[in-house]
Chain length 254, copies 2
């Protein structure tokens, strides 16, 4: 049994807790966090503490707090032989180098409260400062996911950057589509099959091959008409730079 303490009570902490809690290979000894209110849901199932200097002795400490708080939390962990990891996409592993064994346990997924995600299909990106620590993290990760990767800090930063494009920015494009529908008495539901197909198409063709639309065809008339229809200056700028970027790739082919 791997003994784990989770520090944090946000979305990542919750999803990891739920997986480990029902996992026969892992025992969550404790969940620690500064805010007693957000610890309440955990308190029904496991020991909790708001005093980061009173944490149980574990094999692995998982710091699942926001990026700015990782270092402070790390400094409050005094255990000598444990592995201390954070779960951040963008922070380097060396933030934890005050410990003898340290690493990163980064689930590459958008995790929200009240929304279940299949962690078995979620890539978990691991990094550790020793091969023994890496091995132990691998045991932990494969107990909840079928997709475990060794990814160094620099690569992880790039993955996180790529994730901002395909997740955060894509969601904002959905929002713009939603607003355009709303302003024109159209049901956003009408766009859902298109959104679904766009995300599924790249299973069989690369995004490069899947590209379609006015910018792909170099259809300046439609591009100008669309820009003219957009009142919101941010949406106009987004339309322009994305069309320009697409045309810079495909323009030569036309």
């Amino acid at each position: 049994m791997i003994k784990v303490v989770i520090i944090g009570s946000g979305n990542v902490a919750q999803h990891l807790f739920n997986e480990f809690y029902t996992n026969e290979l892992v025992v969550v000894l404790q969940v620690a966090g500064r805010n007693p209110d957000t610890l309440k849901p955990f308190a029904k199932k496991v020991a909790v503490t708001t005093d980061l200097h009173q944490m149980a002795e574990a094999d692995i400490y998982i710091i699942a707090v926001n990026d700015d708080s990782i270092q402070a939390v790390s400094e409050s962990i005094s255990s000598k032989n444990a592995i201390v990891v954070h779960t951040s996409g963008s922070m380097p592993m060396n933030l934890l180098s005050n410990h003898e064994y340290f690493g990163v346990f980064y689930p590459l997924q958008t995790l929200s409260e009240n929304r279940e995600v299949n962690l078995r299909e979620t890539p978990i990106c691991l990094e550790a400062n020793t091969s023994m620590a890496l091995q132990q993290l691998e045991v932990l990760a494969t107990s909840i996911s079928n997709h475990v990767y060794k990814v160094d800090s620099e690569q992880r930063g790039k993955l996180h950057l790529a994730a901002v494009f395909v997740n955060n920015f894509t969601n904002h494009l959905y929002h713009i589509g939603y607003r355009i529908c709303q302003e024109n008495n159209l049901d956003f539901e009408m766009l859902i099959p298109l959104i679904r197909e766009t995300s599924q198409k790249i299973d069989s063709v690369s995004p490069n091959e899947a590209q379609t639309g006015p910018a792909r065809r170099g259809d300046q008339g439609t591009i100008a008409a669309h820009l003219d229809q957009l009142d919101n200056s941010d949406y106009k700028a987004i339309y322009s730079v994305l069309s320009k970027s697409i045309q810079n790739i495909y323009g030569k082919e036309l």
Copy 2:
């Protein structure tokens, strides 16, 4: 039986043909197009012609050609009592007003060669110049789709604009994610579960509520670090305008 002639041999023509060909309510009399090569796949199953002045007498003529050619094709149709429709998202219905009965039959989906799409789940947006013509188009549309909407030309233009954001531009963001992975020896497969979840999340929460990421949190440090990592000036511009647009929405909340 509704007698249909399809003019065009591209992706939309192919998908509509495949649906109508196996549909008991519809008979496709002919597929017409200028290019004999692209008509070949149809010729195995149905009469074809490259002479647009030799088209069969049908109830409905479906013009599924690129936007710039719609008017010229429309003028070559001489039938008096038939309904003439185009399938374009962005062109007004009145382009076809040289006919007595005319309208639009717009499937709101990204249709590619060699990729099957469930048209039953695809919204079909209809418009017609008379209620009788609209009724007949409704019979045709409901024979292949469960989601048939009456959408006027202005709304359809807005839907098409929204579709460019959620489909064409989203796909370009996937492409940027793909390139970042490629340049850093990372498997693009790692991003697929995230892409899938991002597109599915909006079934249960609005894109506005689903928004996450550095710009949503107003995390200037990560935004600056990401911009610094992007060499491609188009990608940098895309990162900037999308982050600015997100911050303009959520900034006041912080």
